[in-house]
Symmetry: C2
Subunit: 340 residues, 2 copies
């Protein structure tokens, strides 16, 4: 145990012995990257298959609070990047993790976040193979930011993309909407009421693999993070050059989330999710895709919510519970800062 | 021109229309990533070669000031990650770039940083293929942090690593030491004196390729960032299980840097560089490696500085200009926060 401090100091970022101790004891002892060189060197057998392509993505995570019901910044950093790869049809393989740490941060907190990342990575079948730590002075960042990047392989012949969605394709989500956004709001203590809400944060790589096995004609998928379902559907409608129609009564929503939204004047369609996706599949494969989702814990609440249509190109419309229709636009202002 | 603001607001991070405008106008219009899906999909022909391996690395950059003589946070974010790949023997191919932006940051500053990144990436022969932006409230970060990750390919048969360094191998650096650290110090205005010092920040992928062509037996290389030459040599000595001996009179140092160090009680051996590396090559290839470096602008000041030796395993010793010898230890405390 070379690390005798309780809190991170600037010397833990200085490039010397203290930094090496922090990295070795808190990070690499848990992540066990292959080798100790600055970069990871990886056997790319899956990438060597003719026609295979490489998927590459990145996200910074600045969520507050750092620990919340159902997750923490580390879990979200692993799941978010795994999900970005998965919805593109890639098999997630490797992650990098870069930490920006405020001087004074509790090392015990770092250990919890790192343990959470290792746990999620193992469950998702990915390895955290390389990383970085920087320390900034008090007040120069808010405790801890984590940036993960992910590399995956897209098997030969697989081509997911919003441009492939055609009228008639069915939209399916894998569970209730808005739990993450509502749980974060509640965890911030901005609400007068206390709730049992948990973030939906989950890695969806295995679920996507099952969906693609059951519905090989799946066209496109999106994870429903910032901007929520509404933003994802708008982006797909615009890129695909078709309309999208959803039905309010088909949207899976938890009563508590609806309640939180009513009190705060929010719309659950725009709430962020960290373990939810929408996938568009040909109508003939919709039942198979739905069954594949429901067979997994992270897809137990899966539901058909609508479909792509010929009319109102680039626009998302919702049939309301009262029989009317409304346009579901992209989020214009800003709903919740630092949700992920 | 959808973007009418001068400064970044929280709505630019919210997942809605403002975020899309910021990303499209400031980032993707310049980086021109392949496609607009969340992840980049890349043809991996170089990776499909039998025996080729994938290299993957990441670094967060928190340098202050954001713009300094000879560079800015964007240039350093591209060069740093390119260099991490290059010193491992990889051909750098693709970068990701994730931005954490403080509310109120000038959009003009973002544009300059992005232009700088695009310029450096083009010069280094890499593409910025995917990215992310997050916005945090005032005071939650210090203007702008950038995290880059890099993917490269290690050609079949190439195996660089500190463990391969053997007694007799010659250590070569590609130029004067400490310019970056001294330039950052001067730019912070912490010095009473004004200097003409410029950061040495440079991408070294092409230089490494030339060195490896001239000296195919090259054993290991390290870029001399945080902790400087001293920390890199200590790490190599420890991993290789041999000693390293350098000569003070052989170290390429600029008089101004020595002066700054004397005034501030710093040691140039520990100053950070962002365009400098040390490479260990077999003695028979040292002249060829040196010539290859000197043929490039970023290696014009290359010099042999020492060699690996049988004795004092794991230790770096320096013959001083006065004929004595001193141990060059790893940096223990912290020299300069937020140098990169």
């Amino acid at each position: 145990m070379a690390l005798r401090d309780d809190k991170v100091t600037l010397s833990h970022g200085g490039g010397g012995k203290a930094m090496r101790d922090l990295i070795e004891e808190v990070f690499t002892a848990v992540f066990e990257p292959p080798g100790m060189e600055d970069q990871a060197v990886l056997e790319a057998a899956a990438l060597a298959e003719p026609g295979a392509r490489l998927a590459f993505t990145t996200d910074s995570f600045v969520v507050t609070p750092i620990e919340f019901p159902g997750g923490d910044i580390g879990k979200i950093a692993v799941c978010g990047t795994v999900n970005d790869l998965a919805v593109g049809g890639a098999v997630p393989l490797w992650l990098s993790a870069a930490f920006i740490i405020e001087e004074g941060t509790e090392i015990a907190l770092l250990r919890r976040v790192v343990a959470s990342m290792a746990r999620e990575a193992a469950a998702a079948g990915v390895r955290i193979v390389t990383g970085d730590t920087k320390v900034v002075g008090r007040g120069a960042c808010d405790t801890l930011f984590v940036t993960t990047s992910g590399v995956g392989v897209i098997p030969p012949g697989r081509a997911m993309g919003a441009a492939r969605v055609r009228p008639g394709d069915v939209a399916i989500v894998n569970g209730v909407l808005g739990d993450h956004g509502a749980a974060i709001l509640a965890a911030r203590g901005d609400l007068a009421l206390s709730t049992d809400l948990q973030s939906d944060c989950a890695a969806l790589g295995h679920l996507m693999a099952d969906v693609l096995a059951a519905a090989p004609g799946a066209k496109a998928a999106r994870d429903l993070t910032r901007g929520g379902l509404a933003s994802a559907l708008n982006e797909i409608a615009e890129t695909a050059g078709c309309g999208i129609e959803i039905a309010e009564e088909d949207l899976p929503l938890r009563a508590e989330v609806v309640g939180v939204c009513e009190i705060l004047g929010l719309d659950p369609l725009y709430l962020a999710n960290e373990g939810r996706l929408v996938v568009f599949v040909p109508e003939a494969e919709a039942a198979a895709a739905l069954s594949a989702m429901r067979a997994r814990a992270e897809g137990a609440g899966a539901a058909v919510i609508g479909r792509a249509v010929e009319g109102h190109v680039g626009q998302v419309r919702m049939r309301t519970a009262f029989g009317g229709a409304r346009i579901v636009d992209m989020l214009v202002g800003e709903q919740l800062p630092r949700i992920c």
